[in-house]
Amino acid sequence: MMLESLQDATADLNENEALRLVNEKIQVGEDPKGIVEALSRGMETVTERFEKAEYGLAELHMATEIFNECVKLVEPKLRESPKLGRIVIGQVTGRLEDFSREPIAGMLKATGFEVHDLGGDVPGERFVEKAREVEADVIGICGIQATAVDAARDIVSKVRASGIGAKILIGAGMSCGCQIVVDDEMRRMVGADGIWNGVREAVDLAKKMMVKDA
């Protein structure tokens, strides 16, 4: 029941209530994985509401904040849990501003990935360096739009040339409010393994990439 309340508090963006419930759960010795699962279910509701335009990006950011604050409380115990995979995520070179990366990184964490977020305006060398360091399974290049195709292609070619075997995904950007849609033609031009448009697609695609021979 209390986990359902935590799920609802997350979905309804009730930060104080969510933090109170997580602290309460920790004190009674609840399995931290169950807590994160409840938070994740709350985040799924948030995503559904976003897709139905009941929530906007502001709500998505707040939900990610609540999620991250709550996860911090259980993180010491979570480190022992097995991960779905390791993802290095960052904004395509030249793009500083993007509203979509943080919620995607948050949702990937919620789903059970180990996420390494490199932030905005990331050069190809940095993707290579981090992916090598953490032995990434997946690299996610965010913020793709028509003017960023060359930069994304450059990152992909640097990763490929480095011999790193991580799958490379590209995701649509959102610049000053313009949601850009990436399609298979853009994927082909960039040379990536997959594309996403939106938070849910990003998470589903990342999970799919973890299936052997995907």
Partner: protein, 370 residues
């Protein structure tokens, strides 16, 4: 077909939601023009007269259109009047990249109190001071006075209206830039009363800013960017709480003072279109991009507000001139009657192909006759 109206008359006709001799065409050319002119992006950003020259070269080469955007003001505006650290091409970033700004918060959560006490001018003075600059109304006026000759040149020598004078941001939109969107998203929930107080204490200054700037360059169009209040960005509950009442007051005041608000609305406004019916009739331009269903916008707002848009950047950069012509033809068929300005959507990508941009002008002049 022969033209019977001047560009100015044509634009006024569509703002009145009537049908002119031909649909007016406006292009927002920025670094694309520098690229075509072989000009460094640094020069385009830093020297207004050079930027104007680059736009003029494209204008003349394409045979002209009906309204130009004041691309020549943008670099200077960001450098002098905005409390954000601008990244100048050729200095802070490579010269093949348009100017950008550092998307880090320049305003802290505590700074809402400065806006509550000192309004927008107090807030900007403090924040620009922290960045090492100086801002007050005199600096603003001096900057816009320096743009005035370029506006005069376009209006009198080229006989084409400039469709952006000053800018009035609704305060909450300004705060999304100053705090950054992720931070203000938290403020909406953690300190909503402070955000609202700061909005109410500063919106009159934002109106004043747009009006002063527009008067100084003798241009009637006030640019009002509102993209970050779209349904993409906030729920309707938050839209009502933080944005719409205040935005409505801003638009009404600008119209009362004789200005034409050019409402720049990127992102998805389809679920919110009915709210524009509450704004003054036949007095504004509503600038949309393809995330908003423009045919639906015409259905809801036809006869009430002139629509503007929306040839998308991906077609201009990656498509063919035939793709552009097809897009324009369909757009004119769908929404061309009684109040429509044909334009590119938002910023033109700087790698837009010349022939594709020219195809907007050519297709507008081919299919846009009444």
């Amino acid at each position: 077909m022969s033209e019977t109206m001047s560009p100015r008359e044509r634009l006024q006709k569509v703002i009145d939601c009537e049908t002119p001799d031909r649909i007016p065409i406006v292009l927002r050319l920025e670094y694309t023009a520098a690229f075509w002119a072989g000009m460094s992006f640094r020069d385009f950003c830093c020297y207004p007269h050079k930027a104007s020259d680059a736009v003029e070269m494209a204008f003349d080469r394409m045979g002209g259109w009906d309204g130009v955007d004041s691309a020549w003001t943008l670099g200077t505006r960001w450098a002098k009047l905005e409390p954000k650290k601008i990244l100048v091409p050729g200095i802070d970033i490579p010269d093949d990249r348009p100017h950008d700004f550092v998307d880090a918060p320049t305003m802290t959560a505590d700074d809402y109190d400065i806006a509550i006490k000192g309004g927008m001018y107090g807030l900007y003075s403090e924040l620009i001071g922290r960045l090492g600059g100086k801002f007050n109304q005199e600096v603003e006026e001096e900057t816009f006075r320096s743009f005035a000759p370029l506006y005069r040149y376009w209006e009198t020598r080229k006989n084409v209206p400039v469709v952006r004078g000053g800018m009035t941001r609704p305060p909450v939109i300004a705060f999304t830039l100053l705090r950054t969107f992720p931070e203000i998203s938290k403020d909406y929930f953690r300190r909503p009363e402070k955000v609202l107080e700061a909005i109410n204490a500063s919106y009159k200054d934002y109106i004043k800013m747009g009006e002063i700037e527009s008067r100084l360059v003798n241009c009637n169009y006030v640019f009002v960017p509102i993209s970050r209040a779209a349904s993409t960005f906030m729920s309707q509950k938050m839209f009502h709480k933080f944005f719409f009442p205040n935005f409505k007051e801003i638009i009404e005041q600008l119209v009362r003072d004789g200005f034409t608000p050019r409402i720049h609305a990127d992102a998805n406004w389809t679920p919110l279109l009915q709210y524009f019916l509450e704004l003054p009739k036949k007095k504004c331009i509503l600038e949309l991009e393809p995330m908003t269903d423009m045919a639906k916008a015409k259905e809801v707002l036809g006869g009430h507000m002139c629509l503007y848009g929306d040839v998308p950047p991906d077609i201009l950069a990656l498509g063919t001139s035939q793709d552009v012509e097809n897009y324009v033809k369909k757009k004119i068929e769908d929404v061309g009657k009684d109040g429509f300005i044909l334009a590119n959507d938002d910023l033109m990508p700087h790698n837009a192909k010349y022939e594709n941009v020219k195809a907007i002008v050519d297709a507008g002049k081919k299919y846009g006759w009444s």
